[in-house]
């Protein structure tokens, strides 16, 4: 989708919200008739808008968890790095420090690049995002298998592996401490 199209849809969405905030009664149907070319995007947006405004939104005092997420989001917005190594340099963190925060050996990150790993506990993504001050989506993108399309075309992608299998291997090779192994085993089983 072109940047212009994005901007145009954003402006239309904001017009819808502004009308609502002004106490008018904007309707999806009226917007669809005005902008049929954006039917799908507008429908999805208005449905989410309705979820928010179905009952009055109460603004509570923000929690500490919310403040942490806000600061992480602002930091993530500044991130220019596209790889874990570049992000570490950007925030001045060492690999061992990251490994300590993740409770996994740094070698695990390399496994993500060369394999498709399934059933990764959500707590792993959360730890990675928090450690690198990124959103989880950014963290997942940084660990996505590399050259996937090319390798798939060449038949060079191995069978997907499960997270549990990977940590089993790491433990057998003496890269994962018994405590961390037990921790990730429990996390995997919990999900």
């Amino acid at each position: 989708m072109s940047p212009n199209r994005f901007n145009q849809i954003d402006t239309i969405k904001e017009e819808f919200i502004q009308e609502w905030n002004d106490g008018k009664s904007p309707t999806l149907i009226s917007y669809l008739s005005r902008f049929p070319q954006y039917a799908e995007e507008l429908s999805e947006f208005v449905m989410a808008f309705a979820q928010v405004h179905a009952v009055p939104l109460e603004e509570a005092q923000p929690t500490e968890q919310a403040k942490e997420a806000m600061l992480r989001g602002l930091s993530a917005g500044q991130a220019k790095a596209r790889t874990v190594a570049a992000r570490l340099k950007e925030i001045g963190m060492s690999e061992p420090e990251l490994a300590k925060r993740l409770r996994t050996p740094i070698e695990l990150l390399g496994v993500f690049h060369s394999n498709q790993i399934q059933n990764v506990p959500s707590s792993f993504w959360r730890r990675l995002a928090q450690a690198l001050s990124l959103s989880e989506i950014q963290g997942r993108q940084m660990l996505a298998p590399r050259n996937l399309a090319y390798r798939t075309a060449k038949g060079a992608i191995p069978q997907p592996r499960t997270f549990t299998d990977v940590i089993d291997d790491l433990q057998k090779n003496g890269l994962l401490s018994p405590e961390d192994y037990a921790f990730w085993k429990a996390e995997s089983e919990a999900e």
Partner: protein, 234 residues
């Protein structure tokens, strides 16, 4: 309204701070000390943080409504909201850009960011499959022409549907809910929960095109059976 990426990267920090100050001057700004070096990037960051603090309560409410609170997904929604807010504030290049419609811009950013998180959650980790299916529609009844079925069993779904219907033009939910075909109601409710047509098709055992068609029919049904006013309950 928004600048190209390459322009953003080369913008002088002084200009950035000047614009942000203009946009959010009422928040209060750090005074530059005479004789001291001015770190405009730090000032810009501080200003954006203050602005973010002002809208954090609302952001949290939106994130909880759209992402839900399971698996801390709303926290990830918040991260995405402020990541995008930071980008947009730095990208708006006209004074009118944020000043006149900041509330609308913020809410648009928040809703879209949370939708992205929820969508990524479904796509990447398959958590969508773990969600409790709240629809208990009777497919057989639907096949027989649509008897009144208990398609909305949970209050929160009803509330969401009321809100949705209000926005597309509903006034009296009760008067039309039982007249809709159960499957159309199922499709609409699943759409409200963020599922796409393919996922809805899989859940209901129908083709995605059928799900899409049912959704359109439901919208048309509502449009032609209700008055275009905001519901009183809102």
């Amino acid at each position: 309204m928004q600048r190209e990426e390459h322009e953003l990267e080369t913008e002088e920090p002084e200009k950035l701070v000047e614009r942000i100050r203009w946009h959010i001057g009422e928040v209060g700004i750090k005074r530059d000390q005479p004789g001291q070096a001015v770190h405009h990037e730090e000032i810009a960051t501080e200003l954006i943080e203050r602005l973010s603090m002002r809208v954090l309560g609302k952001a949290e409410g939106i994130a909880k409504r759209i992402c839900g609170t399971a698996y801390d997904l709303h926290s990830e929604g918040l991260v995405e909201i402020f990541k995008e807010l930071n980008r947009v504030i730095r990208a708006v290049d006209t004074r009118e850009g944020l000043e006149t419609q900041f509330a609308a811009t913020f809410e648009r950013i928040a809703i879209d960011a949370c939708r992205r998180v929820k969508s990524a959650d479904h796509r990447i980790s398959g958590k969508g499959n773990r969600r409790v299916q709240v629809i208990s529609g009777d497919e057989d009844a639907d096949k027989e022409g649509g008897e009144e079925a208990s398609v909305l069993d949970q209050k929160e779904d009803q509330a969401a549907l009321r809100g949705y219907l209000a926005i597309i033009g509903e006034h009296a939910f009760e008067s039309i809910a039982h007249r809709m075909k159960p499957r159309q109601m199922q499709v609409m409710t699943l759409r409200l929960q963020g599922f796409d047509f393919k996922e809805i098709g899989e859940q209901l055992g129908i083709h995605r095109d059928t799900a899409s068609s049912d959704f359109e029919k439901a919208c048309l049904f509502i449009q032609t059976n209700i008055s275009p006013e905001r519901g009183e309950n809102l």
